[in-house]
């Protein structure tokens, strides 16, 4: 169908080099390499040619660069020496030097939080000691009652209550011991963190 097309039938909307019947000349070859034709690539804004046949101007799109590779400009990040020389040459006056000042780490909230934490640690320590004393006292109050050993009725010794108290007391004492140890260990840890400035 296109066998009979001549050089005059070259469609000006497209690159003539890729059309049948194109005869390259040395000037046109050099020109096409250096600067691509204006209408080589259609912009997305003009997907179709107007009916009048007039080609609207299309922004040039570089298809190929004739520049040697060593002269081609490639965007590279600046080197450290370039940054240093630029900084030394022209200091940026828009940057406030106060930005680089030391931050103030001593806040009121932090001190309040620390005080609250220590208060709760002291409360936990006191509760642990209280549990130990309560357990020992509870146990001793029933263990030292002669009614528990004699088995005599009418002495006011309640065996059920005594059994309950003497079963509860070891748990109280051991929980208190663990609480005291944990509270002391936490005090040591928080004290060290405070000493180290946190």
């Amino acid at each position: 169908m296109s066998e009979g097309r001549s050089a005059q039938d070259i469609d000006p909307r497209f690159d003539p080099r890729f059309q049948r019947g194109y005869v390259p000349s040395p000037e046109s070859e050099a020109a096409s390499v250096a600067t691509p034709p204006q209408n080589v690539v259609r912009s997305p804004q003009a997907p179709t040619a107007p009916a009048s046949g007039r080609i609207p101007p299309v922004p040039p799109v570089a298809v190929r660069s004739a520049e040697p590779a060593e002269h081609a400009h490639v965007a590279m990040p600046p080197t450290t020496s370039e940054i240093r020389s630029a900084d030394a040459a022209a200091p940026d006056a828009s940057v406030d030097p106060a930005v680089f000042a030391e931050p103030d780490l001593d806040g009121v909230d932090e001190a309040e939080e620390r005080r609250t934490r220590w208060r709760w640690l002291w409360i936990a320590l006191g509760a642990g000691v209280g549990c130990v004393l309560l357990g020992v006292g509870l146990f001793w109050s029933y263990a030292s009652d002669p009614g528990g050993y004699m088995g005599r009725p009418g002495t006011g010794y309640d065996a059920t209550l005594a059994q309950f108290a003497m079963s509860l007391a070891p748990g109280l004492v051991q929980a208190g011991v663990i609480g005291v140890v944990v509270a002391l260990a936490s005090m040591a840890i928080f004290g060290r963190r405070r000493d180290s400035g946190r």
């Binding site: 030394a88 200091p91 680089f100 020992v136 001793w140 070891p170 011991v177 002391l184 260990a185 060290r192």
Partner: protein, 112 residues
């Protein structure tokens, strides 16, 4: 070497006191086993001895053993934690000094 925190001293004291108390109770219990009584009713001293044996076996010996072991573990834990914290603090101190010198350099450059 850093001085121990008072809470660490308290933990160490609890550990030592618990071990000493456990030893004292164990020897006292062995001595009490040789005590005997006669008559219809035991004397008050015998009842107090029974009460003490009851208290020791049921409550004091487990609690003291627990206290000694737990406080020893707490000591080890707090000691290793404070050592790790000190090492990190030293590293941060060196890093902060570098940062401060860098900031000073930049600030001087900006002020110039």
């Amino acid at each position: 070497m850093r001085a121990p925190h008072p809470a660490q001293i308290a933990l160490g004291a609890i550990c030592v006191l618990a071990l000493v108390g456990l030893w004292w109770i164990t020897t006292a219990m062995l001595e009490m086993q040789s005590v005997s009584w006669s008559g219809e009713e035991p004397s008050d001293e015998i009842i107090a001895m029974w009460a003490f044996q009851n208290l020791a076996y049921t409550l004091l010996m487990p609690a003291l053993a627990l206290a000694s072991v737990a406080s020893a573990l707490g000591l080890v834990f707090t000691w290793s934690f404070s050592t790790a914290l000190r090492r990190r603090s030293d590293r941060r101190h060196v890093s902060d000094r570098r940062d401060v010198s860098d900031r000073r350099e930049v600030r001087d450059r900006l002020e110039r």
